[in-house]
Amino acid sequence: MSGRGAWGLIPFWGLHAWILGYSGVMLSAFYIQFGKGEFPCPLCMLQRYGMFLSTLGALFVVMQARRGVLTTSRYAQGLGMGLIGALAGASVSVRQIALHITPGDPGYGEPVFGLHLYTWAFITFTIVMIFCGVMLMLAPKSIPVAPAAASVPRHLSTAIVWVFLAVAAANVVAIIVLEGFAWVLPDDPSSYHLVDQLTG
């Protein structure tokens, strides 16, 4: 580790919080999808897509830092990916919020803590955009420094990355089951199309 100490470790773990946070959001979405039986609409899936797209920016920076090849320009590239991904996801969230903005509209799905999932998604995208902006403002002092190889923090970092990849793999399976043999989701899904197609 360089002599920058906490100045390098704080952004490193901040990026892990981002990765783990969105993995948790995705697992919660799975609970609502499979536990409560709510089918995600195409805009819901696109917001998950935006979360992955954005988190890949954080993963990009983390993996470069772990390999010890992270430079200021690569750091900016990763945060740029995160920022653009969050902006794309936020655009979808705003679209869905606008769809249900009229008085009396119950919204899509059950609210969680008083807000619908797409509103929560918008809040998380905003947090990510602010995080990226602040980290870019603090660069190059905010360039992450990875903990030493084979240390406990390094294993924790590896575990968080694996959780994210596992959640991404689960989403691949989930969307194939939901979409079946089609390029796009139905506008208002009411069943798992792959199951319907296979069972006739």
């Binding site: 696109l46 992955f52 797209l53 993996m63 506008d187």
Partner: protein, 47 residues
């Protein structure tokens, strides 16, 4: 989503940076394309 998972795996395995960024841009374009489709298909709007 498969593409996004693939990009994640490539990052983990330390694939070429330009390949990763190129695929990420492709995934972004695909997402925007899907967004446009789902925004305009049901309402038959055009922007």
């Amino acid at each position: 989503m498969t593409l996004l998972f693939g990009i994640g795996v490539l990052m983990w395995r330390g694939a070429n940076r330009n390949l990763v960024i190129g695929l990420w841009v492709l995934a972004l374009v695909a997402m925007l394309g899907l967004f446009r489709y789902h925004v305009t298909s049901a309402l038959d709007l055009s922007f």
